[in-house]
Amino acid sequence: MTLLSLTDVSVRYGRLTAVRGVSFSVAENEILFVTGPNGAGKSSLMRAIAGVTHCAAGKITLDGRDITAEKPENIARMGFSMVPEGREVFGSLTVEENLMVGTGMHGGAKRGRIADELASVYDTFPILKERRNGQAGLLSGGQQQMLVIGRALMTQPRLIAIDEPSLGLAPNITDQVYERLIALRAERGLTLLIVEQSSTRAVMVGGRMLLMRGGQIVLDGDARALGNSEAIQAAYFGYEDH
């Protein structure tokens, strides 16, 4: 069943078009990688889905509902959780407070579930537990990255979108993040939408892969099959203008 679908979505910054007419859809419980070189428009696309960047054109639906002009908080409340690029932690809050910010939308009733979730995040990232009462802004770069991923998981989303999860993470931690995400997919039917610059990880994990370039989708297919194919190389190194 289709969970998220985009039709002809464009994003513009003034005169610059960062995303031009992109369409794709994500099925429930799917893993979808979005890859592509620097400046391809991946982050812009994510922000447009999350509702924080305005779509210049096109239509986005989540669960069949049109969310193109919806407020970000309402999109989040529909079960879409987004980890933006560049670690947006609440620096002045403690680590644990950061984790709790997103848990309000369940009405506070499910205290037990929140506690369980917290325990499992701490389990994945023990360092966060150690620093739970420390100020989040003082964490190291990688620790902050763990925090934002943990924070997104705390909202118990149905669809999680992560913009470059491996950014600044030590390789073994990156492994753990992926393990956890894949486990959640199996346990809860979580749908994953992951932006990575390099296709390596997609090839390793498997799943579907979109390759963006110049604001457009240039390749769409099974990650393993596409692999290190000619097409990918061309996409990264081509210099044609658009």
């Binding site: 960062a18 620097n38 400046g39 210099y239």
Partner: protein, 364 residues
């Protein structure tokens, strides 16, 4: 937009070899000089028009506008380049205004009104333009001394510290009766009612601001405004660059103070306090804090707006009937318009841009 992708062909000469190809002398100055020239021409045009109309109240209005231009440009030099919002600059205007008063009032009046002044000042009576220069220097020196202490601070702490300076100077000037006349007005300052000295003052301020902005210090300070950490890592001594801007802008504010004194003929500490602070700051922010053109155009536009609203308040005759806004609506309208402008253009009318004739292009 991958046009920026690097090519590996650049196995070129190491940078040092290319460094011989320096741009021509004054290339930077030549490239940016259109801005102050255009801004000055704008002011000259206004002045000539005013001169031609011959209306005395309008003449006085335009004099006010030029004084404000001087002050707001002075603010811009520090605030625009350093990003530190200063609430204290009007203190330098106060210093300048009183200095001009001390130097130009008839010695007989001075001896009775301000007996606490040192004898050599009591005996002195200078022409207004000399006093204006000295006032500017005096304010600049004060800025140097205060800035030495204050420029270590940044952000809102610096804003409050500068405000504290303003409040201190205000309290001192409002109570040091023998030297400043206390809260009572200092009178006898020669009033200059021709427009030209004010025009010249404003143009001097504009060129000073421009020269500072393109200087090494100006560039380093603008960099530190956005990213102090990275600027320090680039070798920029932030407090020092701030101090430079503080002194230059302090001097311009002092000049503005002298002009204020000569345009009205009386000074009181009150003239140089919160009211003036906020109106000048507003003009700067509405015009665009990060641009010299914004500073000048902000003043001109807001002043024009105020003037139009005043005419409307006084009543305009359309087809035999006079329509007048109720008294007091002018200020409300001004506030609303300012909010609307800022809501539509949060970084001011001009943002970071400058007016030039040509598109900004690097000569490479």
């Amino acid at each position: 937009m991958t046009a920026a992708s690097p090519t590996m062909s650049a196995q070129a000469v190491p940078p040092s070899a290319v460094a011989e190809h320096k741009p021509a002398r004054f290339a930077l100055a030549r490239k940016t000089i259109m801005t102050p020239i255009l801004l000055s021409l704008l002011l000259v045009a206004i002045a000539v028009l005013t001169y031609l109309t011959g209306s005395r109240p309008f003449n006085q209005t335009v004099i006010d506008v030029f004084v404000r231009v001087t002050l707001v440009v002075g603010l811009y030099i520090f605030i625009g380049n350093s990003g530190v919002l200063s609430f204290g600059h009007i203190a330098f205007t106060c210093l300048g205004g009183y200095a001009a008063a001390w130097l130009t009032i008839n010695p007989i009046m001075k001896a009775s009104a301000l007996p606490g002044l040192p004898q050599f000042i009591l005996d002195l009576r200078l022409p207004y333009w000399q006093s204006a220069v000295i006032a500017a220097i005096f304010a600049g020196v004060a800025a140097l001394i205060l800035g030495k202490v204050l420029m270590r601070l940044s952000g809102i702490a610096a804003s409050i510290a500068t405000f504290a300076v303003l409040a201190m100077i205000n309290t001192i000037y409002a109570n040091w009766d023998s030297v400043t006349g206390g809260t009572s007005s200092v009178v006898g300052i020669p009033i200059i009612r021709t427009i030209w000295p004010y025009l010249i003052g404003a143009i001097i301020a504009i060129f000073l601001a421009w020269a500072h902005a393109i200087s090494r210090s100006g560039l380093a300070l603008r960099a530190a405004r956005d990213e102090p950490t990275a600027a320090a890592a680039s070798g920029v001594d932030i407090p020092r660059e701030r101090l430079v801007a503080f002194v230059v802008s302090g001097a311009v504010m002092g000049l503005g103070g002298a002009l204020t004194a000569h345009s009205v003929g009386v000074v009181t500490p009150d003239t140089f306090y919160l009211g003036l602070t906020f109106i000048t700051l507003s003009m700067l922010v509405v015009g665009g804090m990060g641009s010299l053109s914004g500073a000048v155009i902000g003043v001109v536009l807001l002043s024009a707006l105020i003037q139009i609203l005043r005419w409307m308040e006084a009543g305009i005759s359309i087809a035999e009937t006079t329509i007048a806004l109720p008294k007091g609506v002018q200020e409300i309208a001004l506030g609303v318009i300012m909010i609307v402008i800022l809501a539509l253009r949060p970084s001011g009318l001009l943002g970071n841009r400058e007016v030039t004739l040509f598109q900004r292009k690097r000569n490479r």
